[in-house]
Amino acid sequence: MYAQMVKSEATQDDPEKLAAFQARIDRGEKIEPKDWMPEGYRKTLIRQIGQHAHSEIVGQLPEGNWITRAPTLERKAILLAKVQDEAGHGLYLYCAAETLGVSRDELTEMLLDGRMKYSSIFNYPTLNWADIGAVGWLVDGAAIMNQVPLQRTSFGPYSRAMIRVCKEESFHQRQGYDAIRKMAEGTPEQKKMAQDALNRLWFPSLMMFGPSDKDSVHSEQSMAWKIKMNTNDELRQKFVDQTVPQIEFLGLELPDPGIKWNEERGHYDYTDPDWSEFFDVIKGNGPCNTDRLAARNNAWKDGAWVRDGLLAHAQKKAARKHAAE
């Protein structure tokens, strides 16, 4: 997902305190920043929320790529608003992570030097306008699958951030579906572009949910702590079931010949993504990893004088005010 393969930290705390903590979570109580919490809970959450925040921020790059080339002024305004929302999502999440005792700059630096990850999906390129439609529809659609249950997560600030995010997210998916629908119903060339975007982004979207449950080593503890609410395969299945009828409505072909309704299971069967590709992208070898990290590093470096200048100005103003009092 936006936070994939988050390793849960082992915890070496007093067993009695641990049991009381788990009981609070089981009762559905929210854990707040000043409450006692196991070190493992704190560290796992910093990693998970941080990765989620980084994904929102890096996720602006593939879409930002098309703002100046949107086909109409209206589409441009919509995309701009969508990308601005993603910046907001990143900020809500960074603030939630900061309540756990990590600073914003530390989080940023860990992204920039590769110690922290962002979602694998943003290492794929957006080659044309159809991709922008497909990203809103599929990528935001997959993100929603994961974020809706996370509104109920045990950590208060994370839960509140997710509630804000979810309120804004369905606009993202709808504008994407609307854009790709225009193309699917357009000229034969446009329809072909829509099909091509769907075909290319389908498996990377499925990968967003992370490896299959049988290979997913960190789920159990996180699920007990309610910082992971569903298994990867559960969410992936839900996404496939929801998306297939949407593809059919567009009159596009299914991007995977393995998609078939399974009467017995009451779900669509589908082909698993190529997990070796997933692990390769995570390792840094996706088509855009280098570009994405370079863009973030440059933005951080190029913005340094603004950050420093504004802070110096604020300090000078405060000192002057202090002297006048």
């Binding site: 707040e32 000043k34 409450d35 006692w36 608003a81 601005q84 929302d85 907001g88 900020l91 809500y92 603030c95 900061e98 600073s103 914003r104 700059d105 530390e106 509140r160 951030a161 804000r164 804004e168 950050r307 420093d308 504004l310 802070l311 100005h313 604020a314 103003k317 405060a318």
Partner: protein
Amino acid sequence: MKNEWPLWEIFIRGQHGMSHRHVGSLHAPDAEMAIKNARDVYTRRNEGVSIWVVEANHIAASSPGDKGPLYEPSESKVYRHPTFFDIPEEVGAM
């Protein structure tokens, strides 16, 4: 860290005459910028008509350990709630 902008807590008053409500936080070099940033981060969909910003380190907060002494006393005072009293139906609305 080195040169990090301070953290501000953001409070927004919505349209319908409610009190300002805490909505989240953000970093900004000073109060003026905090208000500008809060407008971008927290009012993109008409969420508010007024913004308060408070530097986070100026907020004093109760600690979770004080839960008992602070809130338990009110638990035993059920008579503070109107439903404690039985009012005969004949008396009418009260």
